[in-house]
């Protein structure tokens, strides 16, 4: 079966397309929408984006491999992105990544066997005064504590 966007996503794409003079310009926002809908950007998802925006597969691929928030491989349902740049690292960024490795038992960018979690270190999140900071499912966690991480892992929820 050929892959297609849900009606809701298609509506968003149609709306975004009106903001630009050509169909290539919204590629990055559309890839983000595709990722939100299908999880990782697999080959069939990239083909769908290429068809939707009338682009060549290579035009889509060069964007996918360039931007660090676009993922070709699966991430966990909850993907912890811990800032490892200077002000956060001073406040323990590297230790947090070690803690996650210990707690989840997987290396960075590897999904736990139950599919629930993964993590990675990311570059500056612009949250340096509230270090250490983490970005997760569109949300910021500032002055991050062990309790917060423990709670997320225990409940599988971000609350």
């Amino acid at each position: 079966m050929t892959l297609s966007f849900s009606a809701a996503t298609q509506k968003k794409i149609d709306e975004i397309l009106r903001h630009y003079p050509n169909k290539r310009a919204p590629l990055i926002p559309v890839l983000v929408l595709a990722q939100e809908e299908f999880g990782e950007l697999r080959d069939d998802v990239k083909r769908l984006v290429a068809t939707t925006l009338e682009l060549t597969p290579s035009e889509v691929q060069e964007a996918v491999t360039f931007y660090s928030q676009l993922k070709e491989r699966p991430v966990g349902k909850i993907h912890f992105q811990v800032c490892k740049t200077l002000s956060c690292d001073l406040a323990g960024g590297e230790e947090i990544l070690e803690y996650l490795r210990e707690k989840l038992g997987v290396e960075a960018n590897v999904v736990t066997p139950d599919g629930r979690f993964s993590y990675e270190g990311v570059e500056c999140l612009a949250s340096c005064d509230t270090a250490p900071a983490m970005f997760c499912r569109g949300r910021y966690f500032e002055k991050l504590t062990r309790d917060q991480i423990d709670a997320i892992i225990r409940t599988g929820r971000l609350e």
Binding site: H19, P21, N22, R24, A25, P26, L27, I28, P29, L31, V32, L53, L55, E59, E62, A63, T65, F66, Y67, S68, Q69, L70, K84, T85, L86, S87, D89, L90, A91, G92, G93, E94, E95, I96, Y99, V122, E123, C124, L125, A126, S127, C128, D129, T130, A131, P132, F135, G138, R139, Y140, K143, L144, T145, R146, D147
Partner: protein, 420 residues
């Protein structure tokens, strides 16, 4: 110290982000003044105010606007750079989350001056929690007639520091990977979709309404000889009270740390300060009695950059500081120019070796030699930014590097997570 805040003046008002809240604080008054002026008069006003670009380069905004060709009717664009990613910088996020209408008012003023009808706000993807608030602000302002006939679109990237470089930002809005463009042609001549384009930083644009309301003389009088207004600094690291602070340009870096931010955390002695983001050469503790304006910091051999001040106490390993930053630049180099791609990689490897205790004294000369091979040899400024902390680190904190090499280890305390 008494001084009048300009752009963060009403930030204590929790409803400032709504249109009603913004209007009750005198919002859109600058636009009303702009509507009574001819476009060229607005440009002249901004030029006379000596407002400088606050994204990092410090280029005079009115002069930048003047580069746009005068061809009435030709399509042209304004792009607002909200791709805040320079390590240590978080002022644009702070400004946008508190006062989106102030940015929209500034955009509308700029577009009147430049006779532009389409603006893209290029925001980094990680700020997506702000998108709804922003789109709501755009809809509200439009409904109440504050955006004239202007189309403002919020566009986002997907994680790439280089897209804060203005021509990489244009490539990204065009749906491409963020490779900076060779210049000339400059964006004012050939920018977004091949059309004349002005790119301004969030904070720069947010100062515009106050200049229209109070006049350029007022703005200039608040600043220093070569730059008008105040500036918002983002301070992080080992200070008692990190955060964003609007300060006068005449203040010294020392006063920012010891008065505005309450001094050093746990009263530990100061070792080093990065005054303007990761690309700014590092200052030693005895070099901080210097003004924070663009020209004073340039004279001190560093830069005001994005206004990101990072502060380090005497227990900080400067090899690790430099390694962290060069790792960042190596990660974020777009890879287009060989001196940058290879140079940042080798600098990172060599400094990592020193940090682990595997370095030799000849490495220090090698590091400096590599930086010489990178400087002024690339399309954009990332490589020159990357060598800032490396050169200043090796030259000013040579003892830290030598200690690692002689003891074959890092003997400084580990950076630890104090969370519970």
């Amino acid at each position: 110290m008494t001084f009048e805040k300009i752009i963060t003046k009403h930030f204590d008002d929790p409803k400032l982000y709504t249109l009603k809240g913004y209007l009750s604080c005198g919002g859109y008054e600058g636009l009303k003044r702009a509507r009574k002026k001819e476009p060229q008069e607005i440009i002249d006003t901004i030029r006379a105010s000596k407002l400088r670009g606050l994204g990092g380069a410090g280029f005079p905004t009115g002069v930048k606007w003047g580069f746009l060709p005068k061809k009435p009717g030709e399509k042209r664009y304004l792009c607002v750079n909200a791709d805040e990613g320079e390590p240590g910088t978080f002022k644009d996020r702070y400004l946008m989350s508190h006062s989106p209408h102030q940015l929209l008012e500034g955009i509308t003023i700029a577009c009147r001056a430049l006779e532009i009808d389409t603006c893209y706000i290029y925001c980094r993807y990680e700020f997506r929690y702000l998108f709804d608030r922003f789109n709501q602000a755009i809809a509200d302002a439009k409904k109440e007639g504050f955006l004239d006939n202007l189309e403002i679109h919020l566009h986002h990237g997907a994680g790439a520091y280089i897209c804060g470089e203005e021509t990489a930002l244009l490539e990204s809005i065009e749906g491409k990977k963020g490779f900076p463009r060779p210049k000339p042609p400059f964006p004012a001549i050939k920018g977004l979709f091949g059309k004349p384009t002005v790119i301004n930083n969030v904070e720069t644009v947010m100062f515009l309404p106050s200049i229209l309301v109070n006049g350029p003389e007022w703005f200039l009088k608040k600043g220093v000889e070569t730059a008008g207004g105040n500036r918002v600094l983002a301070v992080s690291g080992h200070v008692k009270n990190p955060g964003c602070y609007e300060v006068p340009l005449s203040i010294s870096l020392k006063n920012v740390i010891f008065e505005i931010c309450g001094g050093m955390k746990d009263d530990k002695p100061l070792k080093a300060v990065i005054p303007g983001g990761a690309s700014a050469p590092i200052l030693k503790a005895d070099e901080i009695d210097v003004g924070i304006d663009f020209d004073s910091l340039a004279k001190a051999g560093t830069m005001a950059g994005s206004g990101a001040v990072m502060v380090f106490n005497e227990e900080t390993c400067m090899v690790r500081v430099v390694h962290n930053l060069i790792h960042f630049f190596s990660d974020e180099s777009c890879g287009q120019c060989t001196p940058c791609r290879e140079g940042t990689t080798w600098l990172k490897k060599i400094i990592y070796g020193i940090e682990k205790g595997e370095g030799s004294e000849s490495d220090l000369d090698l590091l400096l030699r590599i930086t010489g091979q990178m400087s002024a040899k690339t399309i954009c400024a990332l490589a020159d930014g990357a060598i800032g902390p490396v050169r200043s680190g090796v030259e000013k904190f040579r003892d830290d590097f030598i200690k690692h090499i002689r003891e074959k280890r890092c003997s400084w305390p580990k950076w630890s997570w104090r969370g519970n």
